[in-house]
């Protein structure tokens, strides 16, 4: 049973289309990165899965049931962006309150609080909490009752690098235990090593979805090779040109080194030619990163896309 299945979901808000024919699913034990500019429809997608809104069109099922059904939402953990709590209550009181609402055992409250590093602050009022501490409390709240589907909206905001690493370690552990996790973030290099699949949304439409290698294939972006010549740079450049045998490559020179951008399918033949020529002393290969892929798919809109309303 999938954690959720969106089948050609569309949603309109005041007659404005916010989501258009989105088809997406999440399997148990998988971390899905959900990316997009502000206003791309990430929050709407999450709200639909949480059952806070019903889609205008399309079919949606969550944990084998209906979104918003109490029997379903009992198994969902959610960390909203900029999570806020009752300032007059302590961390422990707040978590106990939410545990009761979720039907989770109150015994796990102190345990969860120390798991997110709030053991010392659990009896302080949340009025005194820093942004990072509120975020941790929000995370503990999302983990109540061992959710089968976990949705985290910008979970690392306000967390220091150590806490961020802890968080990702925890998410991996949960994934290995079979939780399906959705991760929304703008810190792409941070999440890149941890996600199994990425979904990229722009203006309400799903631009691309898949694991990193398949996204790279879809994007068909050049691989960058950094070459250090054995002797002469010119000799290396001649070797590159003969090895590519007329295929399109971009060659740049600088610092006595050569930077070559080559299409992924030509990469191996170029490398074999270079090895045979003996003109090369060292090389490093740069695959397009998640950020490169994201920028590629977000495309021409550029800055215009980044400024959109949430």
């Amino acid at each position: 049973m999938n954690c959720f299945e969106l089948d050609t979901i569309s949603h309109r808000y005041d007659r404005e289309t916010v989501l258009q024919d989105v088809t997406l699913q999440l399997e148990p034990g998988e971390i899905l990165g959900l990316f997009g500019h502000n206003g791309a429809g990430k929050t709407t997608t999450i709200k639909l899965i949480l059952g806070l809104m019903t889609p205008s069109a399309g079919r949606l099922s969550v944990l084998g049931g209906e979104a918003g059904d109490p029997r379903v939402s009992q198994h969902i953990g959610y960390l909203p962006e900029n999570v806020m709590f009752y300032p007059q209550l302590t961390g422990r009181e707040i978590l106990a309150h939410f545990a009761r609402l979720k039907g989770a055992s109150p015994a796990q409250v102190p345990e969860l609080l120390s798991q997110v590093g709030l053991a010392d602050a659990m009896d302080a009022r949340t009025r005194t909490y820093s942004k990072g501490m509120r975020q941790r409390l929000g995370l503990a709240q999302a983990l109540l009752g061992k959710p089968r589907l976990l949705m985290l909206d910008e979970p690392t905001v306000g967390l220091d690098p150590v806490a961020t690493a802890d968080l990702y370690r925890l998410l991996r552990q949960l994934r290995d235990e079979g939780t399906g996790i959705v991760l929304c973030s703008h810190v792409l290099p941070g999440v890149e090593p941890y996600i199994d699949r990425a979904a990229i949304l722009t203006s309400g439409a799903l631009k691309a979805v898949g694991d990193l290698p398949s996204l790279r294939r879809q994007a068909d972006m050049p691989v960058t090779l950094d070459l250090t010549p054995a002797g002469d740079v010119e000799a290396l450049e001649t070797a590159v040109n003969s090895a590519t045998r007329g295929h399109e490559v971009v060659v740049r020179q600088g610092d006595g080194r050569l930077t070559v951008e080559v299409a992924p399918q030509q990469k191996m033949s170029l490398l074999q030619g270079l090895m045979a020529s003996g003109a090369i002393a060292d090389l490093s290969i740069h695959q397009p990163s998640l950020e490169d892929i994201y920028v590629h798919f977000i495309g021409d809109g550029g800055l215009a896309h980044r400024g959109g309303a949430q």
Partner: protein, 276 residues
């Protein structure tokens, strides 16, 4: 039901924590004792006047105070959660919107109910113990009726406050509207009724006029507590209309209950259609 109680429990413990419960109880007890002891001051003497006079004075005061306290207690029930950022989170829990609002209603109702029972109850017991030759049975009946109707009046205004709270998206706006509600029912309504009565110069159906009192919960409350003793004193002002009302106390009680049920039902309906 469990979720409703969890929400109610939080509201109740909030009002214990911020001393609302204690403060309201204290105010009620002080006022009741003050009125009981100095109620006869206008007649040139200090001491317990009579049970009907005391209840009448308490009810006149309650009309101002109870709606105000209820509205202040409840006006931010939903809009406050939204501004605090917790409404969205709550709605992702296995908790329906109706359950949230009913839980709040139970919590706020218990707060006001407890404060009323403690505050006026203490005063009632003090009167019974300290005043000699007071008829305990009639005092207890009158106090019971007073406390019961006070709680109902409070619940009605809590429900009216929710009606505002589920509709607006900013707390100051909700506060302003809540005060407007208070102003309308407590101060404006009777004036309008009297004005209408005089201006119509008798052209209005005289049988219709008393029913108009039913449109104001504070008038029903006043009727309930004062008409019960109407044998002893003539009614004044708009309340004289109430003497012509063909419904007995049971009808008045029912009307007061309706003033809790209808606004609450409307608030539930509005909340269900609210966009989060």
């Amino acid at each position: 039901m469990n979720a409703v109680w969890t929400i109610a429990r939080k509201e109740l413990s909030d009002s214990l924590r911020n001393r609302w419960l204690v403060a309201i109880s204290f105010v009620f007890a002080t006022l009741a004792l003050g009125i009981a002891w100095f109620g006869a001051a206008a007649a040139g003497q200090v001491g317990y006047a009579s049970t009907p006079a005391t209840i009448a004075s308490l009810a006149s005061l309650g009309i101002f105070l109870i709606p105000l306290i209820a509205l202040l207690l409840a006006y931010d029930a939903v809009v406050g959660e939204e501004e605090g950022g917790t409404l969205l989170l709550l709605m992702t829990y296995p908790l329906s919107r109706s359950q949230l609002l009913l839980g709040k209603f139970l919590g706020h109702g218990l707060t006001l109910g407890l404060a009323t029972v403690i505050g006026f109850g203490v005063a009632g017991v003090a009167i019974a113990l300290l005043v000699e030759e007071v008829a305990i049975v009639s005092l207890a009946t009158a106090m019971g009726r007073f406390i019961g109707s006070t709680i109902l009046l409070g619940l009605g205004f809590i429900a009216l406050a929710y009606l505002v709270s589920v509709r607006v998206s900013e707390k100051p706006v909700a506060a302003g509207l809540a005060l407007t509600i208070w102003f309308f029912f407590v101060l404006i309504f009777d004036l309008m009724l009297l004005g209408g009565l005089v201006a119509s110069e008798g052209t209005l159906n005289p049988e219709l006029m008393p029913w108009l009192l039913m449109l104001n919960p504070t008038d029903i409350y006043r009727l309930l507590n004062i008409v019960a003793f109407s044998g002893s004193e003539p009614l004044s002002g708009v309340l004289s209309l109430g003497a012509d009302l063909p419904v007995g106390p049971a009808g008045l009680w029912l009307a007061l209950v309706m003033w809790c049920v209808l606004p609450l039902a409307a608030a539930l309906l509005l909340f269900r259609n609210r966009r989060i």
